[in-house]
C-alpha cells in the first residue's frame, strides 16, 4: 500500500478550517464597524421619522405617522406643496439625462471616429473643464442665468449642471465608441446605410450600456443637486426637494427633527429604488465599453 504524499490528520484539517472562519469573522467585524456610522445615521433617520421622540437618541417612543403628514399638507404656510418640489426635482433629474445623453453621445462619436482640426484640443479642453470646482463658477453663472432669464428656473439649473457634467459623459461615451471595431461601421456603410443611419442603427445600440450608465449618473446628480439649486432658485414654485430639506434645517425657528427625518427619507427613497435596478449598468463603466468578441 502506498501512503499518501499528503498525510493530513482530521485535526489538522479542522484547525485550518477554524482559522479560516476566524479570519472571516474578523473581516466582517471590521467592515461592520467601519459601516456603523452610516448605519446609525440612516437608522436614526428612519426611527425618528416614525416616533414622537427618541430616548437616548436611538430608542423610539410612541410610534406615529404625524411626521409624514407633510405628504398631504405642507407643515406650515411657509412651505410650497411637497409634490410640486418632487416634480421639480424629477424635472431636474430627467432634464439632466436628456441634455447630457443628447449632447454627449453624438459628440463622443465624432471625437472617437472623425479626424478634424482641433480634435485633440477639444479632448484636452474637456478634461480641464472637468477639473474645475463647480463652486468657483457660482457668481459668473448667476449673472449668465440672470441675463438669459433662466434664474429661478429648474431649466437653468439643469443646463448648468449638464454643462459641467458634459466632459465626463463625453469621455465615458467616447470609451464605449472606441471599443467598437471600425469594420462594423464600414460594413454598415457598404450595406447601404448613410453616415447618420450607421450611427443610429448600428453604433448606438452597441453603446447602450454606456448610455444607461451616464443616464443614471446624470439623473442622480440632478436629483441630489444642492448648491446650484439654493443659489439660483429662490422662487418657492421652483423649489426642489433639496431646497425643501434645506429650508427645514435652516429657515425654521426651531428644528423639527421628525419632519426633517421623514422628508429626508422621502428624498432618498426614489433614488434607492432606482439604484437597485440600475446598478448593473453602472458597473459597466469601469470596464470601459464593449467586451472583446461580443
Amino acid at each position: 500500500m502506498r501512503r499518501s504524499v499528503y498525510p493530513l490528520k482530521t485535526s489538522t484539517l479542522e484547525k485550518i478550517r477554524r482559522r479560516e472562519r476566524a479570519i472571516k469573522v474578523l473581516l466582517y467585524g471590521f467592515l461592520f464597524i467601519t459601516a456603523l456610522p452610516i448605519i446609525i445615521g440612516y437608522s436614526w433617520l428612519f426611527l425618528n421619522s416614525f416616533s414622537e421622540r427618541l430616548v437616548y437618541g436611538l430608542i423610539p417612543e410612541q410610534l406615529t405617522l404625524k411626521n409624514w403628514s407633510f405628504l398631504w399638507k405642507p407643515p406650515s404656510p411657509y412651505y410650497p406643496s411637497l409634490w410640486r418640489a418632487f416634480a421639480n426635482t424629477l424635472i431636474l433629474g430627467l432634464g439632466m439625462v436628456i441634455t447630457v445623453v443628447g449632447i454627449s453621445t453624438p459628440a463622443a462619436y465624432v471625437l472617437s471616429r472623425m479626424k478634424f482640426p482641433g480634435r485633440i484640443e477639444i479632448l484636452a479642453g474637456t478634461l480641464i473643464l472637468h477639473s474645475f470646482p463647480g463652486i468657483t463658477l457660482l457668481i459668473s453663472l448667476y449673472y449668465v442665468l440672470r441675463t438669459l432669464g433662466l434664474l429661478n428656473t429648474v431649466v437653468g439649473v439643469f443646463l448648468v449642471k449638464a454643462g459641467l457634467m458634459m466632459p465626463f459623459a463625453i469621455w465615458v461615451m467616447k470609451g464605449f465608441f472606441d471599443g467598437i471595431p471600425w469594420d462594423v461601421e464600414r460594413a454598415a456603410l457598404v450595406d447601404g446605410a448613410t453616415r447618420f443611419q450607421t450611427w443610429y442603427k448600428v453604433m448606438l445600440p452597441q453603446v447602450k450600456p454606456g448610455i444607461g450608465a451616464i443616464s443614471i449618473l446624470a439623473f442622480l446628480s440632478g436629483w441630489s443637486e444642492y448648491i446650484y439649486v439654493i443659489t439660483f432658485i429662490h422662487d418657492k414654485r421652483s423649489w426642489t426637494l433639496s431646497s425643501y430639506v434645506n429650508s427645514i434645517i435652516s429657515d425654521y425657528r426651531f428644528l423639527d427633527y421628525g419632519l426633517l427625518a421623514s422628508t429626508a427619507l422621502f428624498y432618498i427613497f426614489p433614488v434607492l429604488v432606482f439604484f437597485l435596478f440600475a446598478q448593473r449598468y453602472l458597473l459597466q463603466v469601469s470596464i470601459g465599453g464593449m467586451k472583446g468578441g461580443e
Binding site: 464600414r186 460594413a187 456603410l189 450595406d191
Partner: protein, 366 residues
C-alpha cells in the same frame, strides 16, 4: 454584374504611399485575387473599391461609370471583412436582412431573400441566433450571406478564410468558389495566402509595397514569374533561389556558385550572352528537379542533408557546395540521409533573374 477597372489608382496616408499607380481590369463575372504580404496595399485597394477610402489619385470604374465620388451605399458592392464585422446586437436574420431593410424592400421580399441565401450557405437553422453564439465558420457564412443578399454587382472578400482553422478553410474555399461560379458575380479576393489565391481565383494580381508585380493566370504566375518577388512568393514549398555567376568551365557554359556548378544547354547560353549580364539569381521549383544516382548531362552533385516526408511525397534537402536546394520527389525512391546524389533540373523550367530582380524572360520576350 459589373466590369471593374482601376486606372493609376493611388492612395497616400501622409507620406506613406499605400497603393502606387495601380491599374487593373477585372472582367464581368470574373474571380480575381489580389495577393501580397501584409502592408502591400491590397486591403487599401479593396476599401477604395468599396468606397470607404477615397483615392488620392486615379480612377475607379464600374462598367465605365466613374465611381470615385460615389458613396459606398450607392456602389452596390458586397464586402466580407476579415473580422466578419457582424452587428453584435442583431440576430443572424437581422444581420442578413439589414442591407435589404435599408433598401426599403418589402417584408415579404426580405424574408424570401434572407432564406434563399441562408439556404445557399446552409445556415437556415441559425437565423434566430446572435452572432456571439456562433462559431467562427458560422459567422463567416453569415458575413457572406449579408454580402450576397443584396445581389451586389461586385463582391469583395477581405481575407475571408484567415480566421478559420485549416480544415474548414479548405472546405470554405471550395464553397466560395462554387457560389461564385453559380452566381457569376464579379469577385475580388484579397489574401496573403498564395494557396488560397491559386485555388480560388481565375486570375491573380500580385502586389508588393503598393506596386503591381504581375497580373495573370495562376499557372502563368507559377511557371513564368516576371520577377524575383513573384517567384519567391508563389509556390509551396517555395522556389529554390540561388545567387549564381555565368562562367565557361572546361569549355562548357555553366552557372556557378562556389563549388556548385550547373552545366547549361546552348540555348540558355545564347540567352544569357544576349543579356550581357553575368550575375543572376537562379530559380528552380522543387518539383522540377530529378534525383539521380548516377552522373548525367546537365546535372550537379549534392548531398542529402534533411528529409521531410510530406505524406504523398518527400521533400529532400540537398547541399551542393554552398548552395542549398529543396527537391520534391516521390516516396518510392530510396533516399537516405548523407546520400551523395545527382540533381538534374528540367532546363526548360529554369528561371533566371537579373540583378534588378526582373526575369531574364522580360529581355528576350520584349
Amino acid at each position: 454584374m459589373a466590369q471593374v477597372r482601376l486606372v493609376k489608382l493611388r492612395k497616400e496616408f501622409g507620406k506613406v504611399v499605400a497603393v502606387n499607380d495601380l491599374s487593373l481590369e477585372i472582367k464581368d463575372g470574373e474571380f480575381i485575387a489580389m495577393l501580397g504580404p501584409s502592408g502591400c496595399g491590397k486591403t487599401t485597394t479593396l476599401l477604395m473599391i468599396a468606397g470607404i477610402y477615397y483615392p488620392t489619385r486615379g480612377e475607379i470604374y464600374f462598367d465605365d461609370v466613374l465611381m470615385n465620388e460615389v458613396p459606398p451605399k450607392d456602389r452596390h458592392v458586397g464586402l466580407v471583412f476579415q473580422s466578419y464585422a457582424l452587428y453584435p446586437h442583431m440576430t443572424v436574420y437581422q444581420n442578413i436582412a439589414f442591407p435589404l431593410r435599408l433598401a426599403k424592400k418589402s417584408k415579404r421580399e426580405i424574408d424570401e431573400k434572407v432564406h434563399e441565401v441562408a439556404r445557399l450557405t446552409q445556415i437556415e437553422d441559425l437565423l434566430d441566433r446572435m452572432p456571439s453564439q456562433l462559431s467562427g465558420g458560422q459567422q463567416q457564412r453569415v458575413a457572406l450571406c449579408r454580402a450576397l443578399v443584396k445581389e451586389p454587382e461586385v463582391l469583395l472578400l477581405d481575407e475571408p478564410l484567415s480566421n478559420l482553422d485549416a480544415r474548414l478553410r479548405i472546405e470554405t474555399r471550395a464553397e466560395i468558389k462554387r457560389l461564385q461560379q453559380e452566381l457569376g458575380i464579379t469577385t475580388i479576393l484579397v489574401t496573403h495566402d498564395q494557396v488560397e489565391a491559386m485555388t480560388m481565383a481565375e486570375r491573380i494580381a500580385v502586389l508588393h509595397q503598393g506596386v503591381l508585380q504581375q497580373y495573370g493566370l495562376p499557372n502563368e504566375l507559377y511557371d513564368a514569374p516576371r520577377n524575383l518577388f513573384v517567384a519567391s512568393f508563389i509556390g509551396d514549398p517555395p522556389m529554390n533561389l540561388v545567387r549564381v555567376r555565368y562562367e565557361i568551365k572546361e569549355g562548357r557554359p555553366c552557372l556557378v556558385a562556389g563549388d556548385f556548378a550547373l552545366p547549361l544547354s546552348s540555348e540558355w547560353a545564347q540567352r544569357i550572352e544576349k543579356s550581357g549580364e553575368r550575375e543572376f539569381t537562379l530559380g528552380i521549383r522543387p518539383e522540377d528537379m530529378n534525383l539521380l544516382f548516377n552522373e548525367q548531362n546537365h546535372a550537379f552533385s549534392g548531398m542529402v542533408s534533411l528529409i521531410e516526408p510530406l505524406g504523398g511525397a518527400v521533400l529532400v534537402h540537398i547541399h551542393a557546395g554552398s548552395a542549398r536546394f529543396r527537391v520534391l520527389t516521390s516516396r518510392e525512391k530510396q533516399i537516405f540521409l548523407g546520400n551523395q546524389l545527382w540533381v538534374q533540373p528540367k532546363l526548360e523550367k529554369l528561371q533566371l533573374f537579373l540583378p534588378d530582380g526582373r526575369s531574364i524572360r522580360e529581355l528576350y520576350e520584349a
